[in-house]
Point group: C2
Chain length 398, copies 2
């Protein structure tokens, strides 16, 4: 089947219940990765452009047990000609995922794994999307959900949590602090964890976006793939997904993965710039709440994966992100939350330098704009009386 | 190809640009329906469970011209066993449509029709979803979008409109008044209309949800199909879709369509209760903004279609709707806006009377809960300091 390997010391572990991290390394260096016996696997170009992520069962560490599984992933890969000075632009729109974010891909893996291991309680710390995803996707199962989030979570994400009936602890603390609190409590209670980087299986869900980009583009490999970066698990997932398809002979190159961070929440970028990779802790501040992370939990894995991939990390300003939200919507119709629109801001920053018009670029939109509308200035809209609107159009009120 | 027939006097019209309504009947009685030469058509069980609505091209009045077309419709039909006292419950989740609502099915038809007819400007009046759908789906084309909405549109829908860059007129008036204002202005300006009931092609998009319910359930026909009702176009579309599949021999019965309205916005129900159908105008008041309609524009068509279908209209209270939002999310994971959750409130109302546990029931969820979070009481959530959350779990702060 598969085994688990420490990202740093390479110790191999059996995938047993309760096995999250390496026994020999600290939490940041000791994240585990799921390794399949690729050399013995036969995977053909057998996949559908429109099915969900469980079609990749051969490359997943868990089977399907819930009625939602078939409807997670399988989000559109939109294709636009001659936009933003690119001959072709691909937009992977995970705002159309079940709960409106890319996090559904990881949550559904965690839920199915919890079912297989016989757990009756699952928890996570989250900036919002992972939590709302877990709460909604898990609502139908018999497993109890406990959620730890920063108090300043966007209202729409809080609404998702509340309506799903999850046990919620909004804490007056940063995401990084909430993460530590959740682990202190959840692991002592022996609940199953859906925390980034701790649970090695989450990344297996997150890699399926890469599989879909390749399959939905007829196995034509993009030159560049842009994605927002917080904890570093999604970017690691994308790198691993592309790499697995390459290892299995389904593609003959991988896209360069470009991780985009917010200027004042770019700890991972700083760590990646100097080898050996030394984790640092910072505070973070950005309107892109989903990637407002100062202590990225998958920092070491992301650095290793990105180095192997040949990609890099860049940072953009909050103003560039806000502008990118509007530009993306007005050009493609895709309304993205800030952490998704960073990808367009990143593309615009690299155009003219390494990125040329004939490069095939894919933007990964990780969250729906409806999840955080604070980025849109609603106050600026003018309202009208009935008379005013008729007058405006130079027509009398009948 | 197809022709247009007046729903009341049966006058037949050629589908020419500018032809919206019957010349001989008033606007409510003179809505047109699109009639195909069914007797000469061969349609097999040739459809995919996962493709979008343009796979039904043979039964659509327009071809595909935009890069989004393939990604509209094709939303999940979720299947749950033993929930809400039904042996099997189907949930058609159009909250996962491109802009988060069922209205995308009509908007994409209107946009493609506007392209085919060479229009450079399209408009609509809307309670919110039709407008945000039109604005986002049309953002990529060269056609200008003008939107008329009531001032009290939910914030998330306004955010979608603003980010899409549409020309927006929020008016201090009811939806019914806004509808009339928009027609006065839009038709004089000779803009293309995406207004319910006026444009006969919208319903052709809205019928595709019915096609998908049948195809995705392996041509096994539900006994009952519940849907929220405002103007009456979606329910007409569902009835027509089921009827067309029946006429073409793809199914041997149709589901009974149950339209659900809010107690203080149920004009259509009142009209349907007495023949001949006489339109009445009322004020409307409900938290389900998408179906807060006092002067339903497709009233006559909806009554005729519903009578032929064998279905009926029922009304539920706002409290029942609010409760249904939570029950639906906590049982299926689907977070619906109020106008979608009315379907569950309606089912619960009819259970024990005409609806039995072994009846196969389908709920049509027409909008994502993220589009209107005012129905969720966010103030009621308790927040914690770091110490409080540790104390709560009887564990000291480290």
């Amino acid at each position: 089947m598969y085994h688990l390997t420490c990202i740093t010391c390479k110790t191999v572990y059996k995938p047993e219940p309760g096995r999250y991290l390496c026994d020999h390394c600290d939490a940041l260096h000791g994240t585990l990765e799921v390794i399949y016996p690729y050399e013995n696997m036969i995977v053909n170009k057998e996949f559908s452009k429109s099915l969900g992520m469980f079609q990749f069962q051969k490359l997943l560490p868990v089977s399907s047990h819930t009625p939602l599984d078939d409807y997670i992933g399988g989000t559109p890969l939109l294709r636009f000609d001659n936009v933003f000075n690119q001959n072709v632009l691909l937009v992977k729109n995970d705002g159309m995922n079940f709960s409106g974010s890319y996090k559904d891909r990881a949550s559904i893996i965690a839920i199915n794994k919890a079912i297989e291991e016989g757990n009756d309680h699952i928890f996570c710390a989250s900036t919002g999307n992972a939590a709302s995803s877990l709460a909604l996707l898990n609502a139908h199962t018999d497993i109890k959900t406990t959620i730890f989030v920063p108090k300043k979570i966007p209202e729409a994400k809080l609404a998702q949590l509340m309506v799903a009936g999850a046990e919620i602890y909004p804490i007056d603390a940063s995401y990084d602090e909430v993460f530590d609190i959740s682990l202190d409590i959840g692991l002592e209670k022996k609940w199953y964890t859906r925390n980034s980087a701790v649970n090695p299986y989450l990344l297996e869900g997150k890699k399926t976006g890469a599989f879909e980009i390749i399959v939905q583009n007829d196995y034509v490999v993009p030159d560049y793939c842009f994605v927002g970066v917080g904890d570093g698990t999604i970017i690691s997932g994308l790198c691993k997904g592309f790499d697995e398809f390459y290892t299995l002979g389904l593609i003959d190159k991988v896209p360069k993965v470009i991780g985009v961070q917010a200027e004042h929440a770019c700890t991972l970028k700083k760590v990646f710039e100097k080898k050996p990779y030394i984790p640092i802790f910072e505070s973070s501040e950005t309107i892109a709440d989903s990637i407002s992370v100062g202590n990225p939990r998958d920092v070491i894995k992301a650095c290793h994966y990105l180095e192997k991939n040949g990609g890099k990390l860049i940072a953009v300003t909050d103003d560039q992100i806000l502008s990118a939200i509007e530009q993306l919507a007005q050009t493609t119709g895709v309304f993205s939350e800030p952490a998704g629109a960073v990808t367009l801001a990143g593309l615009l920053k690299l155009q003219g330098n390494e990125i040329q018009p004939d490069d095939l670029v894919c933007l990964v939109i990780t969250g729906n704009g409806l999840k955080d509308i604070s980025a849109v200035k609603l106050q600026s809209v003018k309202t009208y009386s009935k008379d005013e609107v008729y007058d405006y159009f130079e027509k009398r009120l009948k």
